[in-house]
Symmetry: C2
Subunit: 348 residues, 2 copies
DNA sequence: TCAATTTAAGCAAACGCTTGCAAAATTCAG
DNA sequence: CTGAATTTTGCAAGCGTTTGCTTAAATTGA
């Protein structure tokens, strides 16, 4: 029923070795032979068995993606970018949505992974040094997205600088009591981006000679709900902030919701700046830091593919630019706002 | 360096056949032997090579997911559900994000797919009869999510009924000029859900003895932007609708934005109902139809896994329940609204 | 024209597992 | 106890490629 390489060889009148080489475009094949083989393959509707090919060659033509929450905006975008460039290079992409680190460790160490993928893309949660070593031993290239890791390729943004810019924007607008909605330090997963963003936030204060009142820090977990809760806490303070920097747009959405629930208005009573430039942020009129998420994924995949083609390629560390997008969720402290906001998402 | 089944066999003092059977928990192995083998395997840090196993057995332990836009909320949630249950059964999941149908057809027909996956999950875009046949011939089970397809498993919601309920809600509130933001009939991909939702919308009118003014229909493409554009058109009519049903929450978000941009208020001037119950809808205070997206994915994966275990299992067609969630984006026509809306997302 | 190179093609041994069938060991019935 | 039935194990033939090595053919240089 299904044609094998032997069938092709027979029809083309050559050996299977030649078929294999011809079909893969290897150099040592005459144009005529190659043509003959192609014809034979086409006539038999032949397609190589990736499985057999994998066993024989040890290459899987697959790249693995490890990401914590693939249903979240950020990770979904990332995966989408990765998938696009991988597939266009003929690579399959295998998704590992691992929330628990022990699962990941198991995956890495038992070289389970070596049998399945040629290269690995790790999103946001940087691998430990042990894990990196383990991967190196198996000789599988790794790229980390959203974090910098020794001896790994990395593709990321400058979270410190970006957060500093965002906070600076608030400071420039005259705000001095600025709240921070950050990732909870209690949560078990050790993302580095939130930490960096917090650092940037503090740095902006420092450089402006401002003192950060640490009671103005509240914690969330990068979800809308948690952002709402955190903002609730901030609003219940004796002296609430006049502006808030949220480490993600989704938390910002929650914060906005809480603010309205408290009968306050944005940006009249409180300014908000987020981080990510979520698809909805434009419509929510949220001032934010835009990061090219899909592009991060595409770039990381591309780097890995290059490295597979040419194993001697040196590791790279790419930092992509971000951009402060000023919309209508922030205003100069004390200034009157000129009329009603046009183009706002909300106010249902 | 890495242990093979032969190493285990040697250490355990049995044949490779026995190791294979023991490790896979097949019945014809004594408990003692099994134990011996397990010990040996553990001591060698052995793990089977999926590749070799695939070649020998013809099973890939992988399920493929074909989805058009994996970075969209709906599909990301779906994939997340699929991934969870697949992985917990030891199956890998391979993502095919195919926007173009010809790519998909190629994938199906050249039995490329047979070599890669044991079963296939097709999201939203129902396969053609040719494609189904092709898959059947290769003997690979298929489940379709979000559409009903002959001779395939399907997991979906009742789009007609749900849309009818949503529209009915508007009608019950006294609205008679109801707009529809539907998927453009021009776009090349033939989703069935939008069509069904439109049917439900019309049906509700019909059953209420209402006439639908077809000039109140505008088109989008399930994105926020397109929803905004569509709503813009509706608002520019001489006599705009007093309520609008959007075929997705994301288009509803766009519509909301457009309405505010026009200086109108929701629900005072216009009522909006969406479809999906997007993560943000609760915060946007959007009345909508909730569908259990992640559960759809989980169920579909589960069905497929069952069918792989027991190939004689009959095909199933599952319809999951949806629910109208009334929030603050709809109100009775002509009634005064009691005070300001609490908990709204927007009004930045 | 002929040896020396270079290039193209073929041989056959992996790759690491699964599985049908046969053999051995065990259990059972009488 | 013994032969039959049953259970457990082993043998070895695949599964469909790739690739190192060898051989044959073509090209080159003198």
């Amino acid at each position: 029923m299904k044609a094998t390489i032997e069938d092709v060889a027979r029809v083309a009148g050559v050996s299977t070795a030649t078929v294999s080489r011809a079909l893969r475009g290897l150099p040592s094949v005459t144009p005529e032979t190659r043509e003959k083989v192609s014809q034979a393959a086409a006539s038999l509707d032949y397609v190589v068995s990736p499985t057999a090919s994998r066993l024989a060659s040890g290459k899987t033509s697959t790249i693995g993606v490890i990401a914590p929450f693939i249903d979240r905006w950020y990770f979904a975008k990332l995966v989408s970018g990765i998938e696009r460039v991988s597939r266009s290079s003929g690579f399959d992409v295998l998704i590992y949505s691992l929330e628990r680190l022990d699962e990941r460790e198991r995956l890495f160490q038992h070289r389970l992974v070596k049998e399945r993928v040629d290269a690995l893309l790790v999103c946001s949660l940087p691998p430990s040094m042990d894990e990196v070593r383990s991967l190196q031993q198996m000789n599988i290239p790794v790229a980390v997205i959203g974090a910098e890791v020794d001896e790994c390729n990395s593709v990321r943004i400058d979270d410190v600088q970006s957060a500093k810019t965002a906070t600076g924007h608030l400071i420039n607008m005259g705000h001095t009591r600025i709240g921070l909605i950050a990732e909870s330090p209690l949560q078990p997963l050790s993302f580095t981006a939130p930490r960096d963003r917090r650092d940037g936030f503090l740095l902006a204060h420092q450089e402006a000679g401002l003192n950060f009142d640490s009671s103005l820090e509240a914690y969330g977990s990068f979800t809308i709900e948690s952002g709402e809760r955190a903002m609730g806490e901030l609003l219940s303070k004796a002296q609430p902030p006049t502006a808030v920097f949220c480490e993600s747009d989704e938390m910002a959405f929650g914060a906005i919701s809480a603010i309205h629930r408290h009968g306050l208005r944005i940006p009249d009573d409180i300014s908000i700046v987020g981080f990510d430039d979520h698809d909805l942020s434009k419509f929510a009129n949220l001032t934010t830091i835009a990061q090219p998420v899909q592009l991060l994924g595409e770039t990381a995949a591309w780097i890995l593919l290059e490295q597979l083609k040419e194993p001697t390629k040196p590791r790279t560390s790419t930092v992509m630019p971000t951009q402060l997008i000023v919309r209508n969720s922030t205003k100069r402290l004390g200034s009157d706002r000129a009329g009603a906001v046009i183009g706002a998402f909300g106010s249902i």
